[in-house]
Amino acid sequence: MISIGAMIILAVVLALITRVFLMKHKLLSWVLFSAYTAFSVFVLLKLYGNWNYFETMNLSYLVGRINMRPGFLNKPLGWFFSFFVMAMSFLNSFFSMGFSKSSHSRNIVPHWLMILAASLTVFFTKDWLLFIIGWETLGWASFFIIMGGKQKKYKDSMSYYFFSLVSGMLLIAAVWMIGIKFRTLNIHTTTRSMIILAKNTPWQAFPTLLMLTLSFLIKSGAYPFHIWAPRAHKSAPADFSPFISGIMIKFGIFGLLLYVIPIVSKGYAGYSIFGMPVFAWVFSWLGIITSAIATVLAFSENDAKRLMAYSSVANAGYIITAIFLGTALGIKGGLLHAFNHMIFKAVIFMTIAAVVYRTGETDMNKMGGLAYKMPITFMTFLLGIIAAAGIAPMNGFVSKWMIYQALLGQKHYFMTVAMFFASTGAFLYLYRALHAIFLGQIREVHEREVKEVPFLMQIPMWIGMILMFGLGVFPGYLLRPMMPLMKTFGSSISESLNVVQGSVGSLNTLFSTVIFILGVVIAAAIFFLSAKTHKTPMMDNYTSGEDPEEWNVTPNKYQFSYGFYEPITKMFSWALKRSVDKAYFKASYILKIIGREINMIFTDHNNWGYAALLGLLAMIIGGLFL
């Protein structure tokens, strides 16, 4: 039997080997990475169904009086997340093998392996201590990948590391509150104790739960903390972005599902509102707000990776809303959406990476018309955004449908409306990205140089397409294995392959797919039967008779989607003006000013006596008279 601890240690050892010995052999290290992830997937598949398998490491940690032996426990929740981590990394490794150009950073593989080790630790750990260790390791390992040795990316990676540290500190504080209260750091036993505590004295449980929730929300990029997401995605190496967006954002969701949601949904007896505890209600709304704001921000975004990052934040918002509803359907919808999002967002980012690989650009205004040159990539991207927008035959549709059902089932109409808004917005900006990158006029440079990516890089795209479509038509293939997982959240419905049960009604995905395909066929018929298209030169359209030269627009600069959603951006300018980013920048600026003022205390060489005497006086007089 292969143990989880051995897998973690193997990852760390491989990380060291690749970091020290294989810095110059990128391909070899990617092959090692691929082999490791394949092996892990294999081991995890063997572990499926073997719930409550546990192992204890032969080390003992003594923290204060709490003496513990760290160990791992196989639970459905951790299994699913780690399976997806490993599987997506495995898919990604093919992509990266093709992607590793000479300018490509050499630091990725060792740090990525560290991330894998850390995520296995987080997903399988039995106690909070290892959870913290894994959680904080994620932070610095990703910092080095995102920075990738580039000076201009350093600020963005620093913002990621900052939020990661904040999350880690909140986690440590919360874990100690748990440890002190229950005299143990075991996650599963403290969950039970915490449920009882939350039932009896909700105010005692409140600070701990709040800190944990904030810590996890920061990792998911929820609203006031969302600013790291676009910056980190933008700066990360193009083949690491799928991982950040697909997997890293989900770590917070995992944490919420592991600890917060069971407590909140099962027994939080604080004040309740609309049939929900206020705690859960507030964070459900936070999810909605997150997705709405991310949608608005995505409208005015010109960078493909930043736009997709906002889309990821918005999706994290849906998931947060759904799981905080606390109903079995909500959690199921949230989880399904999390897994679906892992697939389709990873695929979308891979296509963007493919575009970056060929053009070296992420600015959408400098692209266009690439569909003719990169048809496979285009197809993948198209299916990806259909899934992301939640349209029928793809997998995103099913999970979004379940979330709506869960919302309506609880009669949260306002939330449903707000979510509809965000979802519609998602369709708009995703369509714009499709158009700006792949449709319209191709630039002359691209006309000459761009071609389809190599086959190695197409493999994950093909698999992704199959998965998106397959899981869209037969969601049961994912929902059926998830049954033991859902059982832990109190739902024991047995799933069928193509019928999904909601609160208001049920959905036959096969039926809707057939309808959709019919619609496509009809549309294609209309398209081919109607008037033929004809090609126009680039400067001939869109300008409505105006002279583009007047605006300093040349064919090279011109792009159809430039300022596309100007009205919508203007409409929401009041929201954008009070952006949180500015508050963060202001805070960092103030911190710098304070730092300089404090430096002045130390550089004035004549006040040491005052200071020492004041300190002495503070001690003595304070001690005497207070």
Binding site: E136, Y154, A173
Partner: protein, 485 residues
């Protein structure tokens, strides 16, 4: 064993006198003497640490309350082993400037400094502590000024005046304590401290603390820190950061049983430590000069130690010891690597270290690991200290302090990783790595840091022994005073 405990102080002194006879010999003779002595100290203190519980040496054969005693319990031996290890690395790997003239003199001073640090830790007598503190202070004034630039003198002068003021106040405090309790022995003092009236005890302990807080670089007494760290020669920086502040931390832990009886004093020390933490780390956040930055960071770390002690309880002391050890090791690594960078690039501003990871990959990796350890990131030694400390704070319901500590940890993490990030940026430069031998001690220390980081069990037993020795004051007093009966 008795002999070895005494030799820990005597042998460096002997070496210091011996160096006069080798003043015309090659420099390596001095280095050989220093490294032999310090290595001997490291090994023998480690052997003593692992072999037995407690050892008391009555110097001159006079029984504890009357004569001066050296106390080698688990707590003091940990610290002696630590400072000897670092002193060995400094002596062996060229921390002391090798090129200047009068080398045997600075070697002698370094040996005296080592003896003084060991004496401060081992002694069980308050006035003897003061004498060794002054010995350490005078040696360090001179060694700081040996840096030879303007800030060396400025730093040394600020240090000498602040130190002079603080030590005289400490002497006043010792006088008051002797006046009222009639004893100078720390163990005896623990027994008799109750004889002193409340207000007088506050006054006396406050005055004594002045000297200790100066060594610990706590805020109102640490205005000399940045200039001294900046101006001191490479080896002396490590002494300041890793040896002297460590000794200050030890002294506070040793006096904890006396301090804990004064709730008022603790109440006043907590804001002081918090203020010190905030000021030091925010000043470091802004700092561009690497050595001044590390100096600020030392001040911040020692404020953390003080906070951990003030949180109290078993776990608080445990955290304090852990942080002191982790800080001493990591800071020594940072200074060794910093000296290596300085030699390579000729600059001390960290912004000019861009892309050094290409030239000196090991140096950059060591720097990063030590910086992460200071921040308290898992996998390194500092993590366990910070973790325990937060536990101690929450256990004693000091929520505000914990919030400040967590926020400041984030600041600390950001400015340390900023430097590491700068090291890992790629750039074109024609810099060559020089003085790479400075990385050997750093590698040794980093191996310890990482080993303990992944397996804290290997030293937590020893540290727990130290915690017991520090916490159970009555037992300490009984053991010391009854030792020779």
């Amino acid at each position: 064993m008795n002999t070895y405990l005494t030799l820990l102080i005597i042998l460096p002194v002997f070496a210091a006198f011996l160096m006069y006879f080798f003043r015309k010999a090659d420099n390596w003779v001095n280095i050989a003497i220093m490294s032999f002595v310090t290595l001997f100290g490291t090994v023998s203190s480690l052997v003593m640490l692992f072999s037995q519980g407690m050892e008391v040496v009555a110097l001159g054969g006079w029984k504890p309350p009357y004569g001066i005693v050296l106390v080698g319990d688990q707590l003091s031996l940990i610290f002696v082993a630590l400072i000897y290890l670092i002193a060995y690395l400094i002596a062996q790997f060229g921390g002391i400037e090798r090129t200047k003239t009068n080398d045997h003199k600075s070697g002698a001073l370094f040996m005296l400094l080592t003896a003084a640090a060991a004496g401060m830790i081992l002694t069980g007598d308050l006035f003897n502590f003061f004498v060794f503190m002054e010995l350490a202070a005078i040696s360090s004034y001179v060694l700081i000024a040996k840096g030879g630039c303007r800030s060396s003198y400025t730093g040394a002068l600020k240090y000498i005046f602040t130190g002079g003021l603080a030590s005289m106040l400490m002497l006043l405090g010792i006088g008051i304590l002797y006046n009222t309790t009639g004893t100078l022995n720390i163990a005896h003092l623990m027994v008799r401290i109750g004889l002193v009236g409340d207000s007088l005890r506050w006054l006396a302990l406050g005055l004594v603390l002045c000297g200790i807080l100066l060594k610990m670089e706590v805020f109102p007494f640490n205005l000399w820190v940045p200039e001294s760290y900046k101006g001191a020669p490479a080896g002396m920086k490590i002494v300041l950061g890793s040896i002297l502040s460590t000794v200050g931390g030890y002294a506070l832990i040793r006096l904890y049983p006396i301090l804990i009886q004064n709730p008022g004093l603790i109440k006043m020390l907590l804001p002081l430590a918090l203020l010190s933490l905030i000021l030091a780390e925010l000043a470091a956040y802004r700092e561009k000069h690497i050595n001044r930055l590390l100096g600020y960071s030392s001040a911040g770390q020692m404020a953390l130690v003080m906070l951990a002690i003030l949180f109290g309880g078993r776990i608080g002391i445990y955290a304090a010891i852990f942080i002191v050890i982790a800080h001493a090791m990591a800071k020594a690594v940072l200074f060794f690597v910093g000296a290596h960078f300085k030699e390579s690039t000729g600059s001390s501003m960290w912004e000019s270290y861009r892309g050094l990871s290409k030239i000196s990959p090991i140096g950059a990796a060591l720097f990063t690991i030590a910086a992460l350890s200071l921040t308290g990131i898992p996998g390194m030694m500092g993590f366990w200290g910070k973790l325990s400390m937060i536990g101690a704070g929450l256990a004693s319901a000091k929520y505000f302090s914990i919030a400040i500590i967590l926020i400041i940890t984030i600041v600390e993490g950001v400015y340390f990783l900023r430097i590491s990030g700068t090291l890992y940026q790629s750039t074109e430069s024609d810099v060559k790595a020089k003085a790479s031998y400075l990385l050997i001690p750093a590698v040794i220390l980093v191996l310890i840091i990482v080993l303990v980081g992944f397996w804290p069990g290997c030293i937590s037993k020893i540290i727990n022994g130290g915690v017991s020795a520090a916490e159970r004051s009555s037992e300490y007093a009984k053991l010391v005073l009854d030792y020779l009966l």
